[in-house]
């Protein structure tokens, strides 16, 4: 509750600071930064004080305030750029910075024109803005490639994980290391290797080539997550199922799969986001037809950077929050199934 109070205070304070016009010359110019500084220090003080017992000394409080201040700065450093993108994507101008209108909360400073341009509605586009179906095509291609690669990676990775967690597998450590290695090898090296290889077998600039490459990149994630879920799997369950006469496939589907499902899904999500986010492979071996979202963003950043990119970025930030919530919920569910943590 106290945290909510502080946040509310901050929102109101920043709003007031923004709309109150203060001259930018002379001593008065320092009023705003000074107020801001006081607000920051006071917040840190309140939080630190709340975390310490009553018998704390002043020295301890100061130390705690430094600690909280540093942590706050780091968390701010991690999140601030991503948060800054969101309001900026609603700008009405074609620049990538906060205009005075936006800072004064003038409605004229805000618009959804860049979102319109993103989805291919060019009614608001000026002559100089690039507008077309490219973002839509890119999103569609990314989805298509991502889903296919995820499916392949999930099937292969789950197979490998099941094999690797069976009792007495010869060379388990080495095989695991090999299966995870695409995660460790820098993307640029994987891209170079696959570029030469696919050039030989005519897979350059084809969907099949990109999907295969993305499958390689996604596979380790599935292996890792499913292995983790399987590590506490009771193999006696499978023996029991076998003794009851189900076939191998039926036993897998009805006994093992439901239990390892959280691991499979979170592995699949990792594989999907890897493919959905992948730039290096696609710019090396994707042709004009394999226009994915990251590729379009890449050329957008390098050539015609416009707030359209910010609109796309905002949507991707929201998508990432959805994904991380899903994975977190899955993780808790899997821990509950495995009895690690109480419900």
């Amino acid at each position: 509750m106290r945290a909510l109070g502080i946040i509310a205070l901050w929102v109101v304070g920043l709003f007031l600071l923004a709309i109150v016009p203060i001259p930018r010359e002379g001593l008065l110019a320092y009023v705003k930064p000074l107020l801001l500084l006081i607000a920051i220090v006071y917040s840190i003080y309140r939080i630190s004080n709340g975390m310490m017992p009553r018998y704390r000394s002043t020295g301890q409080l100061l130390w705690q305030m430094t600690y909280i201040g540093i942590c706050g700065f780091v968390l701010f450093f991690l999140v601030a750029p991503l948060i800054a993108v969101i309001p900026l994507s609603f700008t009405s101008k074609a620049f990538l910075n906060f205009t005075p209108e936006m800072l004064n909360f003038d409605p004229a400073g805000y618009s959804i024109r860049w979102y319109k341009i993103m989805v291919g509605d060019c009614s608001d586009a000026v002559v100089t803005t690039v507008c077309g179906d490219k973002w839509k095509i890119g999103a569609w291609n990314s989805l298509l490639i991502g889903l296919t690669a995820t499916f392949l990676a999930t099937v292969l990775g789950t197979l490998a994980a099941i094999g690797l967690t069976r009792p007495n597998v010869p060379g388990r450590k080495l095989i695991t290391a090999f299966m995870i290695s695409p995660l460790i090898v820098p993307l640029i090296i994987t891209a170079a290797s696959l570029f030469f290889f696919f050039a030989k077998v005519n897979l350059i600039a084809t969907f099949a080539g990109v999907v295969l490459a993305h499958t390689v990149l996604g596979l380790p994630f599935v292996v890792i997550t499913v292995t983790a879920t399987l590590s506490s799997f009771d193999h006696n369950l499978m023996r029991a199922a076998e003794s009851l006469g189900g076939g191998a496939w039926k036993n897998f589907r009805q006994v093992m799969l439901p239990l390892i499902m959280p691991g499979v899904i979170s592995g699949a999500l990792f594989a999907f986001i890897t493919s959905f986010d992948e730039v290096v492979i696609i710019i090396f071996m994707g042709g004009a037809d394999q226009l994915t979202l990251p590729k379009q963003m890449w050329s957008g950043i390098r050539q015609e950077i416009s707030p359209t990119i910010l609109a796309v970025a905002t949507i991707l930030v929201i998508l990432s929050v959805v994904m991380l919530t899903t994975v977190e919920l899955l993780r808790r569910r899997s821990e509950r199934i495995r009895g690690i943590s109480p419900a």
């Binding site: 450093f77 601030a80 094999g163 069976r166 290695s181 460790i184 170079a192 986010d277 991707l316």
Partner: protein, 419 residues
């Protein structure tokens, strides 16, 4: 007691086989089943990943192209003592090779020859055109007449380092060295030395980023690990959100923050802390690379340290203080040593990822933020010097495999967790 379990009788299964054999057979079957399950993804990775990477290794030493184009020249090359211009036989061999080979092959080979000695390409290109008008020998004088470089002994000498079908020349080039014509190793000319500097910068950037990540991650991980779960889960979102957000989105976000008219500069100027003329240059340079890479890699450091700190009981610190240690001493002597496994994992992970970075330096690095990954990409896509690109890739890979091995020793690959 029945006599089936008599003491000296070996144990039998119900269908009358030795239990030992039956067990072994069953174990073998289980092993085969496991290997069968693994074999499909294993083969997939071998074909689509391991073989291509191995192919890269081969490419980095492969130097057969010139041998295919100049077989006759190289066959008699050893007969030449290398002190004066070679005799008519060598000129004839060269002439026949150049007129006999396919145009594309000659083009590729001459590009390769140009890496060792410049002007080979233009010489061969020009000669191949003019040689068509020459009917018959003796060739030596005619060739020198078409281009006087044929009379330049250094061109003939440079062939000496191209003769072998494999070469370590690309590896030498990748560290600013090269072969002389007699295969002794010397430094590249001053103006072509950039790679040592690039390797150094790559290491430096990776080190700085790793250290910065460690400094920033340690207190945050501690906070997350000691707060009640209710709060730490909320704060964890701040760590996981960038982790899950697209790399390019994060780079765009940083461009907005750090550019000349970016949020940071604007905020400083608006609040009177900075003059409008002296806006900080934080993007498209070394600083930009460092800031952006640190933010991108920070979660890789926080997560392993956090997961180790989570398991450290707060009672250890209390016990140490109870025994008379000051909080600082207890932290240094008791708490920090317990976090070493997490720190080790995080440091190696961040370093491994940082050292192979390509996208971030390419977009925010400007000129003095380029790393070795960018140079590999440049040779792959623009200069088409694939041998050099492969050699640098293999060197990078070797370094990373060593670190991967260390990671395995410190944390164990089995313990790698995600999210």
């Amino acid at each position: 007691m029945s006599d089936a379990t008599a003491p000296n009788q070996p144990l039998m299964t119900s269908d009358g086989r030795l239990l030992k054999d039956a067990l072994q057979q069953s174990l073998r079957r289980s092993k085969l089943k496991a290997l069968g399950l693994i074999s499909i993804p294993f083969l997939f990775l071998v074909i689509v990943f391991a073989m291509p990477v191995f192919n890269l290794l081969v490419k980095s030493v492969d130097d057969n192209l010139i041998n295919e184009v100049l077989p006759r020249t190289f066959a008699i090359y050893e007969d030449w003592d290398g002190t004066e211009l070679p005799g008519e036989a060598h000129y004839e061999a060269m002439f026949l090779d150049l007129t006999g080979a396919e145009g594309i092959q000659i083009g590729k080979a001459s590009t390769r020859m140009n890496y060792d000695k410049s002007k080979w390409k233009s010489l061969i290109k020009k000669s191949a055109r003019k040689f068509k008008n020459i009917e018959s020998g003796p060739y030596k004088e005619v060739m020198i007449k078409t281009d006087k470089k044929w009379g330049d002994i250094t061109f003939w000498q440079s062939l000496g380092s191209m003769k072998d079908p494999y070469t370590f020349g690309y590896y030498l080039n990748a560290v600013d060295l090269r072969y002389n014509h007699d295969k002794s190793v010397t430094a590249q000319p001053e103006n072509r030395r950039i790679y040592k500097m690039l390797w150094g910068r790559t290491l430096l950037v990776s080190l700085i980023v790793t250290v910065l990540c460690l400094i920033l991650a340690y207190p945050v991980s501690h906070l997350l690990a000691t707060l009640p779960l209710r709060y730490s889960n909320l704060l964890m979102i701040c760590v996981l959100m960038p982790f899950w957000t697209s790399l390019l989105v994060r780079i765009v976000a940083w461009m907005i923050m750090l550019q000349q008219n970016g949020v940071v500069n604007d905020a400083l100027v608006h609040n009177g802390l900075l003059d409008d003329e002296n806006r900080l240059a934080m993007m498209y340079n070394f600083t930009g690379t460092i800031i952006v890479m640190t933010q991108i890699l920070l979660p890789f450091m926080i997560l392993p340290i956090y997961s180790v700190m989570r398991t450290i009981s707060p009672n250890y610190m209390k016990a140490a203080q109870n025994l008379g240690a000051s909080p600082a001493l207890a932290f240094l002597k008791v708490y920090m040593p317990l976090t070493v496994p997490g720190v080790g994992a995080g440091v190696i992970l961040v370093f491994i990822v940082a050292i192979g970075y390509y996208i971030t330096p390419e977009l925010v690095g400007g000129k003095d933020g380029q790393l070795i990954g960018n140079q590999i990409a440049y040779h792959l896509k623009s200069s088409l010097n694939w041998g050099l690109a492969s050699a640098m890739g293999v060197m990078l890979l070797a370094g990373i495999l060593i670190l991967y091995w260390c990671y395995d020793k410190i944390v164990g690959i089995d313990n790698m967790r995600m999210g």
